[in-house]
Amino acid sequence: MSRRKDNYETSRWRQFMQWLAGEIDPLTAAKVGMIQEKAETLPDEKMERGKVSTLQATPGNESDEREAHSAAAQAEKAAGQAKSAMAAEPWLNQPSGESRGLRLYRRFYQVMSILLCMGIISVLLWTIAYLPIFGNAGNPDNNEVSARYIEKGLDETGAVNMVTGMILDYRAFDTFGESCVLFIASCCVLVLLRIDNDGGSESWKKRQTEANDRIFEPKNDIILQKCACVLVPVILVFGIYIILNGHLSPGGGFSGGAVLGSGLILYLNAFGFQKAERIFNGKIYQRITVSALTFYCLAKSYSFFTGANHLNSGIPLGTPGNILSSGLILPLNICVGLVVACTMYAFYTLFRKGGM
């Protein structure tokens, strides 16, 4: 009888009941071996899996635990010495057995990454070798699509710049999507970096002081300010010029908006946040972005709707070559320019101090 009882402690059924209760994991031992095996079979996958296997420091596996500790200690040390991440190389000051393994692994990792890179490049070059020749007018992409954009573009969109005509009229849905990409990216950055006052709690104050690097910036740097006095108006006027002439000459909302944004950022750098906040703050940012995107959305929806239902949109195209021509393209360019300028400026201020 007693023998039977002993057996129960180690029996499969007991193990099964324990596993069911989430107390033990009978396959843990098999796990490591399995990962090794996978690493050998799939070279592309090796890196990711390899990483994971070093990370799976299961409790009870001492060597892994120690490795994790030493790496973490390294990280702290490295953080103390204004460091680059590459400086954290544990084997330099720990000539023990496991660090040699780590070193071999790292070397192996490098070799494998070079091989992978070579593999991708050679496959793509192999493809390129069979593609149409560069700069040849008879290539498949110079077909009726681009011919119509060039030949009829001026009549149908009124834009002298065919690229603008294409992205804001023929393929306007893509461009609307693209503005939304910018919008949602700025929302994500807001989530990540905007520091909201939640009633003056400790964590808020801590983050506020951490993020605030304005104490380090030069105050009243006379050279910077004088240069900015000259340059900022020129940059802003140039940006506005690019936006307004988007349908006539190279440029458009995106490039002009980027120029405008950089002018604003220069102003901010020269005169500091307090002055800049008087002309541009979070509220203004929100209003401009929302109204520009709303106008864009409504205008383009109107144009899509009329187009799809074969109605006349009733928007005059004007004389090609004039500033006030080409229908919706000019107002859309202005909207896009405003959104881009605001977003660029918002990215900068959010990265600098977590707010606007």
Binding site: W19, L20, A21, G22, E23, D25, L27, K31, M34, E45, E48, L124, W126, T127, Y130, L131, P132, N139, P140, D141, N142, N143, E144, V145, S146, R148, Y149, E156, D169, Y170, R171, A172, F173, D174, F176, G177, E178, C180, F183, I184, C187, C188, V191, L192, R194, D198, Q286, R287, T289, V290, T294, C297, S301, S303, F304, F305, G307, A308, N309, S313
Partner: protein
């Protein structure tokens, strides 16, 4: 016809509400978001029934210019059905995780969360309806960024690390997809799907550009497979799904990966030509990866202690099923894959949402031991979880059973892959059963110590969402014939 405008209306409405939500406060943004999802459900249903009634699909010009010049979207039976199911699941996930959303997200940033939801919806709809490759790329990016936003909105260290892994893998996928797109543009000269397909057909007939076409197919498939988390590229899935706020987990696992798979199917049918895809060896690769995913995903899930990560690993296995169906290379295999896509969206969202109800009554702990007896403490969540788990295992009357049946019957039609598929299905089902039934048994096991909080009344909204999810599952399981017929019809319309 007004109905024909509905796909366009639903996409633009979702985008517009996203833009508008940035000036609203959290509660208003929530109401706007729910309203938009609700109207999307109605409009998608109208599109679906209209197409089903007329027996035809249609293209819709986005602007004043016809096919090879202007943007276009396209709606048919399959598009309407997918949009309908996706928006229903989206609504239920948002409702089910609502209380946690308001707890997990900083109060001043709740409206940003709903911006992500709105734009996620619009990008999913655009991926479903698009008839243009470059539009697909742009909306894939919106989808990726919105997904990243949903993951990291919890603002914990773990969610940041999960978000960065997600972004890295997604960007790899996007890069591959983009390069495939440009190569395709280079050899065909078209970005719209229908003219591109004609050019591809003439290229294939003339026997030109064989190697570029093969590489294009491989690169696009691998790019979208990375983004949807097919087995060897799945390393980001458990972190991502495991650490996000419940609504985000449900949406990401249930809908986002399916959006990419739907896009891949659409590209196979509408651009590259299904017969060319089958003739190339790429389907076999997808088939093998799918099989590997089915088995390895389940094995990982068995090893997992944390139940949310376990459900996430089970997603890897289920995505393996879908790719296996695509890889079979037959019409019925594709039908099975699409049906399993629906099954998995409905079931996985149910699992994530109901698991949250169980954690609530177990002191927010997520490992096995703390969950013991949780099924008694929150009965509705327990029932929901059990139904979801049984459906994943393939219990008759539930949707998972039908999809497994469809996979098995379609395997019988392709002689070369029959044995492998059947063995894979059997092994994977057994493995599924092991971890899901273990969890269900645990849920209804005897609790050793009394839980931290006693019985908790779950909110009306949460309960309603769970009940709707269960009904959806039963609907897919019991009334599968009309759905399967609609899928078959929709796939025929793709050509």
């Amino acid at each position: 016809m007004l109905v024909q405008n509905f796909p366009f209306f639903s996409i633009v409405l979702a985008m517009f509400s996203g833009i508008l939500s940035s000036v609203l406060n959290g509660k208003q943004a929530r109401n706007v978001s729910l309203g938009v999802i609700g109207s999307t459900i109605i409009m998608s249903a109208a599109v679906f029934f209209w197409c089903l009634g007329n027996g035809e699909s249609y293209t819709y010009m986005m602007g004043h210019f016809p096919a090879p010049w202007g943007n276009e979207i396209r709606a048919g039976v399959l598009e309407g059905l997918t949009a309908l199911l996706f928006s229903v699941i989206m609504l239920l996930s948002v409702l089910g995780g609502m209380r946690h959303t308001f707890e997990d997200v900083e109060p001043s940033k709740v409206n940003l969360f709903f911006i992500m939801i709105d734009l996620m919806l619009s990008s999913l709809l655009a991926l479903i309806y698009t008839n243009d490759l470059f539009t697909a790329y742009v909306f894939v990016e919106i989808n990726t960024i919105a997904g990243c936003g949903l993951i990291m909105i919890r603002q914990k260290g773990r969610s940041f690390s999960a978000a960065i892994r997600y972004m890295i893998m997604s960007q790899l996928g996007s890069g591959l997809f983009l390069i495939g797109l440009t190569l395709l543009y280079d050899v065909t000269g078209h970005l719209l799907m229908s003219p591109a397909k004609e050019t591809v057909a003439s290229i294939e007939a003339a026997g030109r550009y064989e190697i570029p076409m093969l590489v294009i197919l491989a690169v696009i498939s691998v790019g979208l497979a990375i983004k949807s988390g097919l087995y060897p590229f799945h390393s980001w899935i458990p972190y991502t799904y495991g650490y996000a706020t419940p609504t985000a987990s449900a949406i990401l696992s249930g809908l986002v990966s399916k959006g990419y798979i739907f896009l891949l199917m659409k590209i196979f049918y509408r651009v590259l030509g299904q017969e060319n895809v089958i003739a190339s060896r790429m389907v076999n690769v997808l088939f093998l990866f799918g099989l590997a995913g089915m088995i390895m995903g389940s094995v990982h899930a068995i090893l997992e202690e944390d139940t949310r990560r376990m459900i996430a690993y089970s997603s890897v296995a289920q995505i393996g099923y879908i790719y296996m169906g695509i890889g079979l290379g037959t019409e019925s295999g594709m039908v099975a894959a699409v049906f399993h896509m629906f099954t998995h969206s409905a079931t996985k969202a149910l699992l994530f949402i109901s698991a949250v109800g169980l954690y609530e009554v177990s002191g927010e702990k997520k490992d096995f031991r703390s969950l013991r007896g949780a099924g008694y403490r929150n009965r509705l969540a327990g029932v929901g979880f059990t139904v979801g788990a049984l459906s994943m295992v393939g219990f008759p009357m539930l949707s998972g059973f039908i999809s497994k049946l469809l996979f098995a019957t379609s395997a019988l039609q392709s002689p070369h892959k029959m044995m492998l598929t059947l063995i894979g299905l059997a092994v994977s089902t057994v493995l599924n059963a092991i971890y899901f039934l273990r969890l269900v048994i645990t849920l209804y096991g005897r609790a050793e110590q009394v839980a931290v909080k006693g019985k908790q009344r779950c909110s009306f909204v949460f309960g309603g969402a769970i009940v709707c999810f269960i009904l959806l599952n039963l609907f897919l399981g019991l009334m599968s014939q009309p759905v399967v017929r609609a899928i078959t019809e929709g796939l025929e319309m793709f050509d």
